[in-house]
Amino acid sequence: MNKTVKNADEAIKDIQDNMTIMLGGFGLCGIPENCIAALVKKGVKGLTCISNNAGVDDFGIGLMLQTRQVKKMISSYVGENEEFERQMLTGELEVELIPQGTLATRCLAAGYGMPAIFTPAGVGTEVAIGKETRKFMVDGAEKEFLMEMAFDADFAIVKAWKGDPHGNLIFRETARNFNPMMAMAGKITIAEVEELVPAGELDPDCIHTPGIYVHRIFQGSNYEKRIEQRTVRKRN
């Protein structure tokens, strides 16, 4: 298998206006920087973006908000972004906030061919409004769950540390986050990696995302890997 494409522009070339796309990453950690830049360059509009966060004003998905390419965000947390706030308050941007675990598990459900899952997250809150609930016995007591549906995304765009032409992916540290589930959940999955190695170089026991889930892969460049909250301690 050789799923290698030249670059981000080629990888995203058929992402069209009004599509639903998933973008991996948590905060600015493990985000597909190259593809976001290519989407901004291409200028595709009206996107529904499923991503845990919406970047900051001048980085990550924030860049696509500046250019008004996003119609709707489905996220669990969208702080740290003034342009986001402005568009949301003016109604330019539609926002659906869902619990982080629900977001992760709805991706997993799509990747594992499960049409819906049950979670207790949001029971008794406004998240539950309009949703089917169901009680199950858990540890000998009845507990209520929400039924949440698998996501249905045209494209998933993820960022991995290493990958091979088969599309096998390995993530690094907490840059893994949502990337593996989104990689499984896209109808078409695009992976950008820091290092693209020949088939056979990745340890088959250590692959996080098997290539069957990945349709296009390329080695990205110029990763900024910006840090959102630089917290340090002094040496004694």
Partner: protein, 218 residues
């Protein structure tokens, strides 16, 4: 009256040998600093890490290694990374022994509100709804009263809920309280705080039985 560090120190005393603990943003994050040395405790960060260590030394920050508050961190020996589905999987499956998080309001039946204030910019619930819906044991670190002096320990939360009937214990600047079927049960007073002061600061049902000891910190 306790300051933030006092609250963190008092909560740290609830952590036991062998616990897996999830710490929320704010005061809960400070709790990590007061876990007794030598106690085996593993910190879970819900973005996908077991075995969170302290902040890195200056110059050793790694953009790929952050906690759920997006702060640069380190790992300890025996740590493991995993994806967010597994992370919330282990949370839902109640493998995390203790969850510590902040709150804007708590009601006397254990409801919690900590994600949304109508009329203000809503940033989202992040992982809070998942954590409170599943945790075996939840301790809330919060202020007993707001800046206007109004109680945040209520008969019923005014703010939109994060979760229902889930809080087990509350540590505030004034007191330590459990949630019981009869309401908030006062367990300990902060140094220099009277039972009367706590009564006045608590709008929800408050159970006071016998002498209420002053809490011991350090």
């Amino acid at each position: 009256m306790l300051d933030k560090i006092g609250i963190a120190k008092r909560i740290a005393k609830e952590i036991k040998e062998g616990y897996y603990v999830n710490l929320g943003i704010g005061i809960p994050t400070l709790v990590a600093n007061y876990i007794p040395k030598g106690m085996n405790v593993v910190l879970q960060s819900e973005n996908g890490l077991l075995g969170m260590g302290p902040f890195p030394y200056e110059g050793e920050e790694d953009a790929d290694l952050i906690n759920a508050g997006k702060q640069t961190i380190t790992t300890v020996a025996g740590s493991a990374f995993f994806d967010s589905a597994m992370s919330f999987g282990m949370i839902r499956a109640r493998k995390v022994d203790l969850t510590i998080l902040g709150a804007m309001e708590v009601s006397d039946n254990g409801d919690i509100a900590n994600w949304k204030i109508p009329g203000k910019m809503v940033k989202g619930m992040g992982g809070a709804m998942d954590l409170v819906a599943s945790a075996k044991n939840i301790i809330v670190a919060m202020q007993h009263v707001n800046k206007a002096g109004e109680s945040k320990l209520l008969p019923k939360c005014d703010l939109p809920l994060t979760g229902v009937k889930c809080v087990k214990k509350i540590v505030t600047e004034l007191a330590v309280l459990d949630i019981t079927p009869e309401g908030f049960r006062l367990l300990e007073r902060a140094p220099g705080i009277s039972v009367e002061q706590i009564k006045n600061a608590t709008k929800g049902r408050l159970v006071i039985e016998g002498d209420i000891p002053e809490m011991i910190i350090d």
